[in-house]
Every structure is written in C-alpha cells, then in structure tokens.
C-alpha cells in the first residue's frame, strides 16, 4: 500500500494523525466542527458588549480546528496572550456564500508547532469547497474575480452574528 494511502488510513485516528503530522484536505472538515479564534478586550466596542464585524478581516485569517484543540489553546498561539479570549464559529458558517474555504495548515515543528492551525482562504468565483486555495493568496480585488467590498462586509457581519463566545478576555 503506498505510503500516502497508509497515512490517510492512519489519519482516521486523531492521535496518529497528529503524530504523523498528516495534513487534512478541505473536504475532511465536518460542517458542524468549530474553528477557534482569539480576541482581546480592546476588540470589543467601548470594551464591552459583543464582537462586531469591524474586528474581523477577510480573508486569510488563522483559526484552530476544534478536532485538535480546545478554546484555551488559543492563548498559546504565536502572538497570543494569557489574557486572550476565544470565540468560535462552525466550518459551515466559515464557508458562507462560497467565499472562503477551510484549509488545514499545521505550522512547522521547528516554528511554533500548532497542529490545529487552519486558515480561511479566499475562493474565487467558480472554485468549490474541494479546492484548496494556495497559501498567502493575495486579497483578490473585484476586478480579478474576487468579491466586492460589500460582499466581504456581508461575510464579516454574518460571522459576527453567528459566532459563539468560548472564553471571555481578561484584558
């Protein structure tokens, strides 16, 4: 059996997948699985209330996949603080309107290893959820078959309406 197929078989066990640093395809994400993201108190309007669409960017944002992490792990991410809060949304919500796909992107071991690291990468019109957009794909402007400003804002507002707060930020 070729090594790739063998790896895929092992990947059904989360512990083995982690050990082998198996990289999942976008189609391996279940619609109701959750993606965790960190935030700080200063992201809240007037430092109270709920997160608003102004605190999200579109696209190319990093998350942690709940299959391999817990909300508290967000504090250990690169650039994270022990006071950070965490919110989450589902894979299905992240794929709102076919604008973005979830791409598993384990960070290298010698960097700051994070096996759960997942990126939301922009899809172009016509690309479906089986397609994995390249890493660091630049923001595509409307003229280059990207999404209009209002579509991007709608996406961010949709996420802000549907997110769930997991941990409140301490600062």
């Amino acid at each position: 059996m070729p090594f790739k197929l063998l790896k895929k078989k092992f990947a059904k066990c989360n512990t083995l997948a982690r050990l082998l640093r198996y990289k999942f395809a976008p189609t391996d994400f279940e619609p109701l699985e959750r993606l965790y993201r960190g935030f700080r108190k200063i992201d809240l309007p007037d430092q109270w209330g709920a997160l608003r669409a102004n605190s999200f960017s579109f696209p190319n944002i990093s998350c942690n996949w709940n299959r391999f992490s817990k909300p508290l792990d967000i504090r250990k991410r690169a650039g994270g603080l022990p006071t950070d809060g965490c919110y989450s949304f589902t894979v299905e919500q992240a794929r709102y309107d076919g604008m973005v796909n979830t791409c598993h992107d384990p960070t290298p071991i010698n960097d700051r290893k994070n096996y759960a690291h997942t990126e939301l990468r922009q899809l172009m019109i016509g690309e479906d959820f089986s397609f994995e957009p390249p890493k660091d794909r630049p923001k595509l402007e409307k003229e280059k078959q990207g999404w209009s400003r209002s579509k991007r804002l709608a996406y961010r507002q949709y996420i802000s309406l549907n997110l769930r707060s997991e941990i409140d930020p301490l600062a």
């Binding site: 200063i42 309007p45 608003r52 102004n54 209002s150 949709y158």
Partner: protein, 200 residues
Amino acid sequence: MIELGITGNTSYNTTQIVKNISRSYYDNNKIVCVLNPFPFQSTDPRILDAMVIGDIKVITSGKGEPTYEGLTSTTKEASVINNFEQRIFKKLIFPDYWEYEGVLKPNLSAKKNAYEICKEIFKKYDLEPDRILASRENGIFIAYDFVTDSSERSLIIETYNNLETAVVVSDNANKKILYSEDIYGLNFENAIQAFKEKIC
C-alpha cells in the same frame, strides 16, 4: 413659563423640535410648545434646545421677542454633528496590536468620508450612529441599530482608506444578511429602505 408657536416646514425637523421640548400640542397646524422656565432670564429662542431649524420660523408669543427665519442649524443638530466629529476625528480607538498584524489606521480621507456619511444620514433620515469604530479592513465602521418588538436590524457602513464604501443590512434576530451594496457617492436610499422595512 414661555409659550411659543412654531410654524413652517413640518418635515422631520419639526419632529426634532417636538422631541426636545417638554410639552407640545397642535393648534391650527401649528405646534405650540410649552417650555419650562430657564435659570436665566432670556427669551432668545437660540438658547432653547432645538428651537430653530432650517426654514422654520420661531414666533414667540407674549413679550414679542424676535422672530427667526431661515436659520440653518439648531443647537440640537449642531450638537449631534459635533458628536460625530468628536467620535470620528478624536475618540476613534485603534487597537495597537492590529498594527503589528498589518492593519492600517484609518486615514484622514476615510475619516472625512465617514463624517460626510454620518451627516448625510442624520440630515436625510434622522438617524444617529450607535457605533463608530476603526475597522480591521483599513477604514471606519459605522453601525446603526433598529430594534422593535418584532425585529432587530443593523445597518453597517464601512468606508475605507481608498475611499470605497460598502453597506450591509442584517437581520440580527434571525442572523441573516438582508442586503449589501457597494456605495458610490452618498446614495444610501436602498439600504435605508431595507433597514427600515417591516418584517411581515
């Protein structure tokens, strides 16, 4: 007590007046307002909150003090506009750590554009923004909320450093996006209509 009769344009400006006066009633298409006494003796209508707007005439009854015609702003209107100005140009919070992530602070053009948008929407539709915030998309985020017993909607406007503007209307109770549009100029007619439309 000072009794005043106000005549003239009965558009939203008049509503503004009624809102800011302690008691009022209609008499022969005139709005008659009864105001509480002020701590100092003056019958100058300009000292009264929102008494003089646009082409509205303010006629004092009683001691025959001046009638004002064609004044362009009121203390109420000026204070609301001043409030936007402060929130956009002086009080806008930009989290430091966004800068490390490559987010650009809103530039002066975006701020001026945001100010013009707030002013236009206030003058035309009598709406004041509930939130004015910096946006992670390099611009300014302006939000209006509309809450009734049956619905809860938000009108979100973002204006960016490159002067593009986008608008979205969302149904917050049902977590849905109702309307989105790229805006050219200051034409918010369709977005406001979607925002204020009643849910059947």
